[in-house]
Structure formats: C-alpha cells, structure tokens
Amino acid sequence: MKRIHNKIAIFAAISLLFLFCSCNSAPSRVDYIVDTTPELFPDYTNTTFPSTIAPPNFCIELVGDEYYIAITGEDHVYFTYRGASAEVIIPPSKWRELCGDVGDGDFWIDISISNGGKWTQYAPIINSISTNKIDEYLAYRLLYPGYELWNEMGIYQRELSTYSEECVFSNDRVDKGCVNCHAFSNWSADTMMLHVRGKHGGTIIKQGDKTDLVQTNTTEFPNGAVYPSWHPQGRYIAFSSNEIRQYFHTSGIKPVEVSDSNSDLFIFDTNTNKQISSIDIAAKNKMETFPTWNNSGDVLYFCSADFKKDNKIEEVRYNLYSVSFDPETALLGDTVLVVDAQKLQKSISFPRVSPCGNYIMYTLSDYGNFSIWHPESDLYLLNLRDSTTRLMSEVNSSDVESYHCWSSSGDWFVFSSKRVDGLWAHPYIAAFDKDSGVASKPFALPQDDPKFYKEFMRTFNIPEFTTTKIDLNYKN
C-alpha cells in the first residue's frame, strides 16, 4: 500500500513539474517575426536600472490570446512567462539573480504574442543594469490631485529595493491639515524637516534624536517658511517665504495656476531659531524663491523675478541667481545672475546642484514658478564648468517634467512627470553620466502592480532620495 502511495506521489510531482515547465515553455513555432519592439507599460525599454531596484513589472500593451516572455542575460535565461495575461510579474529572486549576474551590462526581454493560434515574435527589448549606487529610499507626498481643497494626504517613504511603502506623516495626525515640503540635509533622514499647515501648524525640524515644531512666521516674513533647502552642514535651512495665490484658467490646456504675489528668502539658523536675510535675497523689487545650496554650502542658488504690483501672471518670469554665503559668519555676499531665462521669455524653477558640483538641473517653463501645472515645463541642465545649458531631451516628454532630486552619488536623479495622462505626477528615475552630463532614458519607479500608474488615484509630490529610513519620532 505504501509503495502505491509513493508511486502516486512521484507521478503527481512529475506531472506538476511537467505542467509547470509546459506553462512557461517557449512556443513550439514562430509564425511571424517583426523587427519592432512591443510597447510596454510602464515604458521599460532601452533604459538603465540600478542593480538594487525592485523588479520592474510591466504590462504588454498589445492585445493577444497568449504571451510568452523570456528575460535573458548574455548566456542565461532568468525568467520565462507564458500565459493569457499581458501583465508580467518578475519574481524578486530571479530579478536579484539577474542584477547580480549582469552587473554593468545589458539584459534582454524577448516577447512573443499569439493571436488566433499564430505566434509573432518581436524584436528583443534591451535594457541595462548599472551597479552605480542609488539611495535606498524615496520620500514623497501623496495626495489627490485637487485644486484648492485637500482631504487625505501624507508623506510616504518607499524602499527602492522592494515595493514596501510606509507612511511617515499622515495629515490625520493634524486634523487633516496640509503637510508639505519635506527636505533633508545631505540625503539623511536624521536631519530633515517638513511643514504642517493649519491649526497645528509649524515646521517640524528633526536633528538627530531631537524633533521640534518651530514657528517661522515673523513680522518680517509674515508668510513664514515655504520652499526649503538644508545647508549641507545641517545647521541652516534656506527658506523662501511666499505669498501664494491660486488661479483657475477659463480656457486652454492648463487648469490651475499657482503664483506668488510676493516672495523673499531667509536663512533659518536651527541653533538659534533666528532668521538671517539681506537685501540680496529679500529685495523689495524682486520675488526670490526656490533656494538651493551647492555641496560645500558656500553658494546659495535661487530663482528671482521682478516684482511689480500689477504683475500679470503670464509675464512673471524667473532667472537663476547665486549668492555667496559664509557658514562661519552667516554673512551673504553679492548676487550673481547665473541664467537669464527672461531673455528667452522663459522661467526657471527648482534649481538643484548635482553632488559632483558640476551641474545644475532646473525646470524651465513659459512663465511663473509652479511648473507642475505647466505641460510645457521641461528639465534643463546647466554645466557649471562651461556655463552651457541644454534641454534634457533624453528625459523630457510632451507633458510636465518638474520637481527633481539628485541621488547622493549623483549617478541618478528622480523627477516628477505627468507623461502618463497629464494630471497625475509620477516619479521617474534616470541614470546620469557625470562626465558627459547625459542621462539615460528614465523609468517609472517600479511597482508591484504593473497597472499601478494607470490606476493609482493619488499624485506623487516632491520625490526626494534619502540614504536612511525616516523615523520622524514626532508626537504632537
């Protein structure tokens, strides 16, 4: 009796193995071969992934009865899938194996699609793996893409090597107040800040184990702190103080305009809770905003536009300026015009200096500073070595590209793009060659569900890399 049981078990195991193998086996014959690659969603074609990223699951955007996919390296097949679903879920273990083996090299996605019993084999999709280090976490704000009102929002943190996402700070904790502008010093979550608006408002500043709620609105800066940039040494935070207004377009493609009726900059000393400013960064005839430090912390870059009482929103354009800063004495020097965008009838927002110090990436739009609502806004790169600036056509799309952040190594950067449908912003990551100043084709942050970016109803705001996990430890 026992023998019979054993035989049944062996037979069942072999049958299952056979079934498993046949499920994932390649089509026995190919009827057509085409030299184009099928469209994937998200577009994971001809791009470069960091070796530590989570598996980039995708959907094949072609209709078929059956799909066969093989993900291969130079001489090894890492993963095959055959089935009726166009969704391809790569097992993390197989992906890790691939990333480990490929190193700084290419891998291929071979796709065949069956329609009416006829198999079509498409040209292989080529992607690359880079062992250049990317930071472990990405922090962002998630909220419904509303106009004026909000309900639920929060700052979230995603572990890039997995799909794990944690809520760092939800506005449930502050009676649905607005939480925004999370910023980190040197990509470290140990020194960070975020604003809370409303009844429980203030700026939460965390430095090591100490977390405080600080009020930054003074008579000199009644609008308080808005857009931040941490000084690399962790003592100062440069803030803009903006009087923000919202407007709604009557016609055209843009729905909303967010504009400043006035703005200035100040530097907040976290040791003394004092504000430092000067005419150079808080001029009465200028609107200064979007401060950002260079890596040594001795130059502050910022955007500035002319202030006129009867400013027409569509005529407000921001140039890029810099001002020297002495961290020892906290004294500011003279301002220098870095990029004259007004001359080109354009406007700059979100300048960010690369960790190598050789580049500034910024967003350029037709006017104003809130480029996330401007479909024409694109990423530009200023080479500080030769003062040339160029449109980053390798990463831009026909829709919005806006907020961006360098990784701590400078080998990667993340940016917000609305390329999927024009309303929801999603984080895209691109590899960056520090020598040539050229980026790879960007890829959407991988998600467990391949349809995620078509169905997720919240928009990603302010993607920021961090090297450590955020533990805000703030009890209001």
Partner: protein, 511 residues
Amino acid sequence: MRKTNIVIFSLLFIALSSIFVDALGYTFAYREQEHLFLFDTQFFSSLVASVGGVGEYASLFVTQFFYVPYLGEVILALILSFIYLLSSAASYRLFKAYDPLFLALIPVVYLLTSYESLSFNISHVTSFFTVLLSIYILTFIKNRVVFVVVLSLVMALYCYAFGWIYVCAAATVIFLTTLSAYLFKSVVFIHKKWFIGVVLLLYTLFASVAFVQSYNAKEKLMALTELALQKGDWDSVLAYASKSRLNSSLMHYYQNMALAYSGRLSTSLFNHRQAVGSKSLYVTYDTNSSQFTKVGHYVYEYIGHIHEATHWANESIVVYGESSYNLINLIKYNILLGKPKVAMRYIRRLDKSLFYKNIALYYKNMIDRGDMPNIYLHKENNSDVRFTNTQSFRGELDAMIALNPLNKNALTYKFAFLLLEKKFSEFVSELIAATNSGIIVESDITDQYLQALLVYGQVTGASTPLDHLITDELKGRYIGYIRAKSDKNWAELKSRYKSSYWLYLDYSDLL
C-alpha cells in the same frame, strides 16, 4: 422562547423593511450616491490599512447594493434584525438562558434612529453585526478554554479591523442579555404571553417616539431635492423646492438649476420664490458648507464654463471621495476638455464597481467622439490667458458670452442674473443688443422680459425698439399692479401678481 425570538426577528425584519421602503427610502439612494465600492486590490488595501478599515470596507460593500431599490433596504433590515437574533442566540449558546426583557432590541432601536441622519456611518451597523456574528460562530467551539483563547484572539484582531468600540458594544450587549436572562431565570411568569406582549409594546412605543424625534424633515427634503437634481428630474426638484419655505440659498440654487436645465429660466423665473436674489444662481466656495462643493459644477456646466465645472467637480471628489456622481462628472468634463487619458482613469475606476459597468462602457465609447450630449463647450482656441474670478459670477457670464456670443445658455443666465439683481436698465440694453445682433429673436422675448421692459419704459421714460412687443393686456396688468401697490392691497398683489417681475422688484424682501 426560541420560537419567540424567531417571531420577534421576523416581526422586526418586516417592520424595519417597511420603514426603510417607506419613510427612509430616500436615504438608501442618497447614501449610495455618496460612496462607491470597488472590486480592486488598491481600494481594499487603502481601506484596511487603517484602524477600523475592515469595518469601513464592509460597510461600503453593503452600501453598493443600495443602488437597487428594495435590495439595499431588505439587506439592511436583515442585518439589523440579525443584530437582535445573534445577540440573543449567542447569549443563549453561552449561558443557556433567554432574556425575557429582550434587551438585545435596544441596540437595534438605537441604530435605527441613528440611521435616520444622513451623516450616520453605516459601518456602525455592519461592524457591530460582524462582531456579533463572529462571537456567535465561535460559540460553537465546545472546549471552553479553546473558545476563550480563540475569542480573545479574534476580538483583539477585530479591535484593529473594526474598532474597539464594536467589540466592547457587542460584549456589553451579550453581557446584559445574559445578566437579564440569569436574573429572571428562576422567575416563573404566570402570564408569560402577556408579559412578552407588554414588553414588546413598550419597545415599540419607545422606538416610535425615538424615531419620530430623530426624524429630520428638512434634511429629507434637501436630500430628495439633491437626488432629483442628480437624476435630472426637474419637475420634482421644483416641487420639493416649493415645499421648502426656507430662505436657503442652496434650495433656491437647486430650484433655479432645475429651471435652467428644463429651459424655463426665461419664462418661469418669477413663478417660483426668489428670496435670495441673484445669489441663488451660483454658489461661492464656502468652507463652512462643503455641501456647496458638491453642486457648484451645475451652473458652470450649464453656461459652458467647463474649466470651472471641472474645478468644482475636482474639489467635490477631494472632499466627498470617489462617488459615482463625482467620477461621472469628471469623466464628462475631461472628455469635453480633450483629456481622454484623464477621463479613462476615472472610467477605469467606475468600471471596477458592480453597478456602474454599463455607464463606464458608455463613456468609454464617448471618448473618441470628444463631446457630450447636452453639454456645451466653446472649443475655439484662444491663446489669451484668462483666469476665472470666483468672486464675480457676473464676470464669468460676460467671459463666456465674450468667448462665444451665441452661447444662449450663458445669455439666458445673464438675463436672469440682471433681473434678480434688479438691474433692469442694463437688462434692457443687453436684450436690445442681443436682439439686434440676431442672437435672440423677438419670439424668444418672454413675458417676464417684457415686464422688465415695461418697467424700464415707465421709470426712465425712454422708448426702445422692442416696445411694440408690449401688449395692451400687459400694460393693463401693470396699471392694475400699480393701483394695488398704491392701495397696499397685499391680498391682490399676492393673488394676481404673485408670479410677476414687478412684485419681485418692489417686494423681494417680503418674499
């Protein structure tokens, strides 16, 4: 006693079903419109991630059936009836005694009266029911130690999944039911049937009083009006609005929306109460009344200001969530604005519901057409940047007319606005201009417009090219009106001139 419980359960079910079908019927449609249940993993995970999220998920699951008349009412009546039965049965299974006071009826009465308010969250019912059902199922575990361990674990889990309050409430109800059963166990009832009858009668009286006291007729009227508006049942909207004697600008807004959408704004504006003037023609954003957020899009959709209608619909979805109503509005507007991918995201959302798949399919097919039946959008490209002034509705009307002078809806609305603002001189000059340019023809000039024209002539002494339209009969009526006014004959004014512009002009404060 077991039979008694079954009988009470059956009676309870019949009574609750009757109440839900009749007096509270509107609440089901209203609640269904407020929420949308989606068969989607993201939807599930976003809800269950928080404390009480499973309860919320369960309540939304139940609420989706409110879409079908009677089905939702029967389901909720069953759930409430089962709350009674499960409490009694669990108590009996644990302690082998029945409660002669039927204390398990108290939470049912409480939940029923609470349900009357539209702000009541159904999850209170579903969560309480689920906890009771679980306790009842667990009572089948015969080993007491295993029962206590499993019950403790399940209840600890439920504290997170549904909220501790439901676990405590269920435990309290079962405890009190058992205590009552224990205390009365040795009592021998001589007239048991009479005793039960009297107890049940007392419950019925108590429930009736509590029900009547919690009944909110104003809320009901408002909800019915809103539902009728959403369905496009304009006559019902007008009927409900006429029932309301409140000077509520929201109710007046609903009324005027019904007039506009049914094409009666130019003919019947003054056939209805206009107690709040031009403010009843639009809504302004008001943080104290988020109800306005939900309905602000109507007027902008009517006048073809689709950008602003989208603005309001977006605010509504942020405040009220992804209800079918909000999603459908955003689908329509984004199709019109040439944003098919945005519309598709909302369509995909709708497609994940149980009862809106056909509507999702309908709009999916509309995407390629790029227009919407009965919604007007001026699509001519205009490179000028113009921003909506949410504080000046008049400015928006002017902008819509300037964008397209043939926008008749905007023009009709502007006429209504000027009449309600009592700016008859401006009205007359606009009317003449519109007639001269052929946008409206003389046959479009209604009696209420002629009344304003007549007043203009009388007050200013000026003649207009449209004076020939004023009939002798109208002149005679005006003379009669002036006589009644000088005689302060309020009865005649109210009876003969109730629907006239003249009465509104002179006595709008008293309307």
